[in-house]
């Protein structure tokens, strides 16, 4: 009788534990840097009329419709209204470009289009124009979950990216994971470490006082651990970008986000 009562309690306890364990798993999931922003900055990020990144989005919209003199075509000449045709596109990048077989992120994809179809020279990486167009296209997927493809030709890139993420680098001898997995939510100087979710980029970073690409952000991390800074658009950062996107699968696009 006594034992039976105890057993009942044990069963009840286990039943209580089950749902809370699920909640805990969700809580310990990846955390976007947006969740660590101050209340004021969160409001600014969410308010289209106050988010400074929207200045680039507006510029991007003008560029989208601007007819280039090379082939006499704008982005809209082929793709139509970006609000429909570009919806969800940012969630799938980086992706393998079927024409070249190479992995391209959104920035490089825009430049490939410019070269092939508009007869124009590419925008330099990190130029205002490329940031503006990238931000405009990424904005069309606002709130949609990341879902990149890592099969087939993308698989080796994904593996390289994963390796880079766990590789101890630089004079300080730190891997990405040692901060962005082991110490998420803790302070690193003036900021709080996030889970390294790439969904907010291009992002308006207060440290930069401007909009910047994910590769600029990755270069900042490389510099921080005194490791080799790879060039913008390099295969190393593209692979890492793909790994980060797969790792954060399901995270919602926040571009252009505000970062500290």
């Amino acid at each position: 009788m006594f034992m039976g009562k105890r057993w009942r309690w044990l069963v009840a306890g286990t039943l209580c534990l089950l749902p809370s364990a699920i909640v805990n798993a969700a809580e310990t999931g990846l955390k976007s840097a947006s969740t660590f922003l101050s209340e004021d900055l969160k409001k600014r990020e969410a308010d289209e009329t106050a988010n400074p990144g929207m200045l680039w989005v507006i510029e991007g919209e003008e560029l989208w419709n601007k007819i280039e003199d090379g082939a006499g075509k704008s982005c809209a000449s082929c793709h139509g209204d970006a609000k429909a045709s570009m919806k969800g596109v940012a969630t799938r990048y980086p992706a393998i470009d079927p024409a070249s077989g190479r992995l391209l992120n959104l920035e490089l994809r825009i430049n490939a289009c410019r070269e092939r179809h508009q007869g124009k020279v590419v925008f330099p990486y990190e130029s205002e124009e490329l940031l503006a167009l990238t931000a405009y296209i990424a904005r069309q997927s606002l709130g949609m979950p990341l879902k990149v493809n890592t099969d087939g030709a993308a698989a080796p890139y994904y593996e390289n990216g994963r390796e880079l993420f766990y590789l101890r680098q630089g004079q300080i001898n730190l891997s990405c994971a040692q901060c962005h997995e082991d110490n998420v939510g803790r302070h690193l100087r003036g900021d709080i470490i996030s889970s390294a979710i790439p969904a907010g980029y291009p992002a308006y970073r207060i440290e930069w006082q401007t909009l910047g690409s994910l590769h600029r952000r990755l270069r900042a991390c490389s510099l921080g651990v005194r490791a080799i800074q790879f060039p913008y658009g390099s295969e190393e950062y593209l692979s890492l970008e793909l790994y980060l996107a797969k790792r954060a699968e399901g995270s919602h696009i926040e571009a252009p986000a505000i970062r500290k």
Partner: protein, 108 residues
């Protein structure tokens, strides 16, 4: 130069006597003049020094800005809507910068 220097967001209609919120965001580097470039040459100061807002030709707001203001200044202004008319936002600054944005307000 940026294609979109300024973005002013405000309601286009208001009831007489209501206070309306105006959000003014302008794209500007606000270069302080204290920095040097990668080869050690000083970067000349390039900041916005003043924002003036007129409402039907009458100045209703003026703000002086200095090097301490961050890039892409953002401002929230509250204005009492009295009569229909035009609001003109004018930012002036170094190197002859003048940025103007116009908005019309209908007061019922």
């Amino acid at each position: 130069m940026a294609l979109v220097p300024a973005r002013v967001s405000m309601p286009s209609e208001a009831k007489k006597g209501d206070a309306i919120e105006i959000k003014a965001l302008v794209r500007h580097p606000m270069e302080t003049g204290y920095r040097v470039d990668s080869v050690g040459q000083p970067i000349p100061r390039n900041i916005l020094t003043r924002l003036t807002v007129t409402y039907n030709g009458v100045r209703v707001f003026r703000m002086e800005m200095h090097q301490g203001i961050a890039a892409n200044p953002y401002l929230l202004i509250v204005l009492r809507a009295n009569k229909s008319g035009e609001l003109v936002f004018t930012w002036t600054g170094d190197q002859g910068t003048v940025i103007t944005e116009r908005k019309t307000l209908t007061v019922t």
